[in-house]
């Protein structure tokens, strides 16, 4: 079939398509205009919650290490919590900016390039979230015990801290083994987090660049 024959076949579908999908438009008019607004709002609320949590971690971490300048492990715990908070705030702010900036009414190639870059960025950031997710509990627990209960966990029960380090290491090892040895696990993980794998997101960027070239 040549392209001009495709055109005839496509045009012959027109009436069938109009008949088949007209009901979808009716349903949309009746029910969905409000829900579109609600879905976008839900995404924004999620990002705002991440930012609020991040700001709380920054404030708690900074005030904690400032209050215990004489103890290295407490300063390190406070700084790590603060750094984690900054990461949360920065990533949420960046995603929020993108959400506001991406205008689907812009030219198709430009928008697809922005989306592909965004996906690639999220895939590259994924190992950072895995590592921080495995270990952030340690400084958080030390800060909470000291700030709320007045107990220095690292001094009074170092075995608990070691246990948390061990759990984090095991969890990270589990991720590494799954990503390295279980077929499809790394791709599935990336898919669930960023909607694509690193290889596929790079492939998409290459495809777009090729499409732009004459």
């Amino acid at each position: 079939m040549e392209l001009d024959e495709m055109k005839l076949a496509w045009q012959s579908l027109d009436q069938q398509m109009a008949r088949r999908y007209a009901l979808d438009l009716e349903q949309y008019r009746e029910r969905k205009l409000g829900s579109a607004r609600f879905r976008l709002l839900a995404v924004k609320i999620g990002l705002l919650a991440r930012m609020v949590f991040g700001v709380a971690a920054v404030v708690a971490g900074a005030s904690f290490w400032a209050a215990h300048p004489g103890s290295l492990h407490l300063v390190v715990s406070g700084v790590l919590l603060q750094a984690y908070g900054l990461l949360l705030v920065a990533s949420a702010a960046w995603e929020m900016q993108l959400l506001v900036d991406i205008d689907y009414a812009a030219p198709v190639v430009a928008i697809q390039r922005s989306l592909a870059r965004f996906r690639a960025w999220r895939v590259r950031l994924m190992p950072v979230w895995i590592v921080t997710g495995c270990f952030v509990w340690i400084p958080l627990t030390i800060v909470v015990f000291k700030a709320w209960l007045g107990a220095d966990l690292y001094v009074r029960a170092p075995e608990v801290v070691l246990y948390l380090v061990g759990c984090g290491a095991v969890a990270m090892l589990g991720f590494w083994i799954a990503a390295r040895w279980v077929p499809g696990a790394a791709g599935a993980l990336a898919d669930s987090y960023a909607g694509t794998s690193l290889g596929r997101s790079q492939q998409q960027l290459d495809d777009i660049a090729r499409f732009e070239r004459e």
Partner: protein, 181 residues
């Protein structure tokens, strides 16, 4: 009533939702065609129609009435369709099922058989195209001028012409190979 007259009347409506609904109705075929191009089977197409409408409504407050509604609508619908195809890519859904139109065409007469064959070929050709090529071909199949296609996609007119010519050539070569295995 042609699209331009319909657009002008729709833009006169006082309420934003009414204006949107009138314009959507006027240009509804764009939504159907994009859904047909980017979703593999019936359920997905119905979902994609809804998703495109949601994206259109979400973007409508930023629509500049001085610009053509159809261009704006094509961009949003195509971007939504491409995103849908990329998400569905992992599920490998492309035209594995018989399309509704194909089933409808599969009747017990010669004309029905011919329609079915033609639609099967159409789907097979579409399945070979990447997401951006589908956008290009959709606009070509709709008889849009090259200048419009370039504006919607954000590439030059020369690039549009070159790409269409290459796709034509590719299809011809495939036909030649199929005829002379």
């Amino acid at each position: 009533m042609n699209a331009t007259t319909g657009d002008a009347m729709a833009r006169e409506l006082p309420d934003r939702q009414q204006r949107f609904e009138a314009l959507l109705h006027e240009h509804r075929r764009i939504v159907f065609h994009v859904a047909r191009m980017y979703a593999g089977h019936s359920d997905e197409r119905h979902d994609l129609v809804q998703e495109i409408c949601s994206q259109l409504w979400r973007a409508f407050p930023r629509y500049d009435a001085a610009r053509r509604f159809s261009t704006w609508m094509y961009r949003i619908a195509l971007n939504t369709g491409i995103s849908h195809l990329r998400q569905a890519g992992a599920r490998a859904q492309r035209f594995e099922h018989l399309s509704d139109e194909l089933l409808e065409a599969t009747r017990d007469d010669a004309a029905g058989a011919e329609d079915a064959e033609r639609l099967a070929e159409l789907d097979a050709r579409i399945a070979q195209l990447g997401p951006l090529e589908r956008a290009l071909i959709l606009l070509y199949l709709e008889d849009r001028p090259y200048a419009d296609i370039a504006e919607v996609l954000g590439i030059s007119e020369t690039n549009v012409a070159t790409k269409i010519s290459r796709i034509k050539q590719r299809f011809r070569q495939q036909m030649t190979r199929a005829d002379n295995p």
